[in-house]
């Protein structure tokens, strides 16, 4: 212990960010940290840009992460990885799901999806881990486990053992989806360890 950290989750309403951030919170609690998490509910969840903020340490006061102080960003969509760039610092790690979800202006032909959007992050020398979470989820047999694939990917950057996450996942998902979620977790973890 003694360590502290800030994890920023970003993505699009409906992508399962809340579940992923819950699993992470429980894992950090199991490791003995003080943890706080901040979420925004309501209107933004209808397909809008959403974030969750998770902070851990010996004692956490603020539930909000300060710009420039997110150590890990877990982005569920590529453009949503870049939107929160001011929250990162040069030693941050960005774990990004390589999915593209078109915002309304792009889907209706009024704007274009920025090409090679992740270059904005790599150009600053920030470490980016790309995870094809959607494909990996499909390979393990359930596309809806993409968020658990992402949990697997981030787990490699934190001190907790796999078993900690596995126990939490098993407790939180319906029994018949337990095995597929555990496989999703393992698949994600492998990406970061490669």
């Amino acid at each position: 212990m003694g360590a502290q950290g800030n994890i920023l989750f970003s993505g699009v309403g409906g992508q399962g960010i809340l579940l992923a951030s819950e699993i992470m919170a429980y894992a950090l609690l199991a490791a003995g940290y003080d943890v706080k998490k901040s979420e925004v509910h309501g209107m933004a969840q209808r397909g809008g840009s959403v974030t969750a903020q998770l902070r851990y340490g010996d004692k956490v006061y603020s539930p909000l992460i300060e710009p420039g102080r997110a150590d890990i960003q877990m982005a569920f969509e590529m453009m949503e990885a870049v939107r929160y760039l001011p929250y990162l610092h040069k030693d941050s790690t960005v774990i990004v799901n390589t999915q593209k979800i078109l915002p309304p202006s792009v889907a209706t032909g009024k704007a274009t999806y920025p090409e090679d959007v992740l270059d904005h992050i790599t150009a600053l020398g920030i470490k980016v881990v790309m995870v094809d979470a959607f494909d990996l989820a499909r390979e393990v047999g359930e596309v809806r486990t993409a968020n658990v694939v992402m949990v697997g990917a981030i787990s490699a950057f934190l001190p907790m053992a796999s078993s900690v996450y596995e126990e939490i996942i098993a407790a939180r998902v319906p029994k018949k989806f337990k095995d597929v979620n555990l496989k999703a977790f393992a698949a994600g973890r492998k990406v970061s360890q490669a």
Partner: protein, 602 residues
């Protein structure tokens, strides 16, 4: 909520309020949904031994709570900040009647307007209504403070306001479970006319009692546990409350802090003593200069809104920048990107109506709910939106102002829950005072925007059990609307005909657009047969794109790509339906003149 220890749980502020209300022996809880307060009643409804309900609006919710209190049980009422405007009438006089059983009113403010039409600081209500207000900083503080609120309510014969903000309500932290306690008050009917019947003669006597009560509360504030001085180093001292306290501790962990768990009334002696011990007194608070003004009124010099913004949410970075600008680190610059605003779901019934409205040359007097998203492009079919229920009165006012010129040009749109909330009285006015504006009730069977809560028209109660359902057609007819049409909003062409006809009428009329929200559990379970685009037939006319359904995307083509795909060279692109996202509503099919959108074989 999952146990992380024997009596330690990981919970949001709202879950913690529900737990604490249960532990405090609350017997009746009422309220109306509103971000960020909604999950309190949703959670409380799962506890044994507490009666919970969704009221049609916050005024009724508070009256129900007051009634339960008169009957001698502990009662909780929940709402968002703007809900307290609606409940303000009973609030100000409940301050005079006082209580029998403890009565606590939770009001959840939304600084930054994450999900609200304005930004209000509810602390002003505590001052104006002469009521105590308690304010936790995070979920871990909720339990003890809410129990204290009930005790104060009964000891000092007062309703108690309990304020949260988004960053308390929707923050999760570790919470300690507490003892279950009971109110010493004995339930039953007790006639106390001098206290409960607020005629002028009685009210004048109670007014004096209110003054005495506030004086006692002020005294109590000097010694209560929830107001505390945290010693520290340095010449600066901070006075703060709510989540702002955490931002101060984050940025200045070693500073002297006076933390107020009760933001009204204020402990004057304590503040004076604290001020005399520091060289510089700084008040850190979100939104209005509430503490600051009252501290300055005591004749105590302090900094506050001269340094800290009075708009939007605070956060540690803002506190740091305001008070210690040198410590701000250089940040990476933001990258300009297409915005990602929220959008109605694929297959949302509201979209069909707004598509039609976008084609009609009318002023759309809108209201609040998921359907407010009809304002955004490409539909862009809402011309005003003020507060819940306002659509109807505004349309009538415009119709009266413009007379014959307004005929067929003014439409109000309101959701079923919003109509039940405060829309009905507007419709009564429209009928009574005679204008020909058309009201469209978007009956998606639920209060969708706040996360699918039941309402008086939906046929079930907060626990999902069957309940009496208000018959909207009969209700509109009963108040005197002669023409009430019911349409299926997914039937775009059928709807257009009904709307055009309704706009021609010379009297008030109502169209009820009825189809369930796609996020209702029964809709999620149902098998939808998706539509798909027959790409060879798509001419790139963009007719379907103008619906703005998130399942349909526009795919631009260069002339070479168009040719390669077998299209005419000048075809600019094609539309594609994402079959996983499509909910099979069929709205887009009605718009395609080339039969390029087809329902898949079952």
């Amino acid at each position: 909520m999952a146990a992380i220890g024997d009596d330690l749980v990981w919970m949001s502020g709202n879950e913690a309020i529900a737990l604490a209300a249960y532990e405090a022996g609350v017997k009746v809880a009422s309220g109306y949904p509103g971000t960020p307060s909604t999950e309190i009643l949703e959670n409380l409804s799962t506890y044994e031994g507490v009666y919970t309900e969704w009221a049609p609006n916050e005024k009724v919710g508070l009256e129900v709570g007051l009634g339960a209190s008169f009957a001698g049980v502990r009662a909780l009422v929940t709402m968002k900040h703007v809900g307290l405007n609606v409940a303000a009438d009973p609030l100000f006089t409940a301050s005079y009647t006082g209580v029998r059983g403890g009565l606590v009113i939770i009001v959840a403010d939304d600084p930054e307007m994450h999900s609200s039409q304005n930004e209000q600081d509810s602390r002003n209500y505590a001052f104006a209504a002469k009521l105590p207000m308690l304010e936790p900083s995070d979920p871990s503080e909720v339990g003890a403070l809410l129990k204290e609120a009930f005790a104060l309510s009964e000891q000092l014969d007062t309703p108690v306001l309990f304020r949260t903000t988004t960053r308390v309500a929707h923050v999760k932290s570790v919470v300690k479970k507490g003892e279950k306690i009971d109110s010493p008050v004995i339930p039953g009917i007790e006639k106390m006319p001098a206290k409960f019947v607020m005629l002028p003669g009685n009210a004048r006597v109670r007014r004096v009692a209110v003054g005495e009560r506030m004086a006692k509360l002020k005294e109590l504030a000097e010694t209560a546990d929830f107001n505390r001085v945290e010693p520290g180093s340095g010449k600066r001292g901070f006075i703060t409350s709510g989540v702002s306290y955490l931002y101060v501790k984050e940025v200045f962990p070693d500073a002297k802090v006076l933390k107020l768990g009760m933001c009204w009334p204020l402990p004057e002696k304590m503040i004076r003593a604290f001020a005399s011990e520091v060289d510089e007194l700084i008040v850190v608070e979100e939104l209005d200069p509430f503490l600051e003004l009252h501290i300055k009124a005591m004749g105590i010099a302090c900094h506050g809104k001269d340094l800290i913004p009075d708009q939007g949410e605070l956060n540690p970075a803002i506190v740091r920048k305001s008070l210690d600008p040198a410590s701000i680190a250089q940040l990476f610059a933001p990258v300009p990107l297409p915005m990602r605003p929220p959008n109605m779901c694929a297959g949302c019934p509201h979209r069909g109506i707004f598509y039609n409205l976008s084609r009609l040359k009318v002023f759309v007097s809108g209201d609040i709910g998921c359907y407010t998203l009809g304002f955004l492009p490409p539909l862009s079919a809402m011309d005003s939106c003020v507060c819940m229920g306002a659509s109807v009165g505004i349309a009538h006012g415009m119709a009266k102002a413009l007379g014959a010129e307004a005929k067929g040009k003014i439409v109000s749109v309101i959701g079923d829950s919003t109509f039940m909330h405060t829309g009905l009285s507007g419709l009564i006015n429209t009928v009574y005072n005679g204008s020909n504006s058309l009201l469209i009730i978007l009956d998606n069977r639920i209060t969708a925007m706040t996360g699918q809560q039941d309402n008086p028209a939906s046929g079930s109660n907060i626990k999902g059990e069957a309940a009496n359902a208000i018959d909207l057609e009969a209700l509109c007819r009963a108040v005197g609307v002669k023409q009430v049409d019911v349409v299926n909003p997914h039937d775009i062409n059928g709807c257009r005909k009904v709307l055009e006809k309704a706009l021609e009428r010379d009297e008030a009329s109502v169209v009820i657009a009825r189809a369930p929200c796609v996020l209702l559990p029964e809709m999620k379970k149902a098998k939808h047969i998706p539509f798909s685009t027959r790409l060879a037939d798509c001419t790139g006319c963009m007719a379907c794109i103008r619906l703005g359904c998130p399942a349909i995307s526009w795919n631009p083509l260069t002339p070479e790509e168009a040719l390669a795909k077998g299209y005419k060279e000048k075809q600019k692109g094609f539309a594609l339906i994402n079959e996983v996202q499509c909910n099979g509503c069929g709205q887009c099919q009605a718009l395609c003149k080339f039969d390029a959108i087809v329902r898949q074989e079952a």
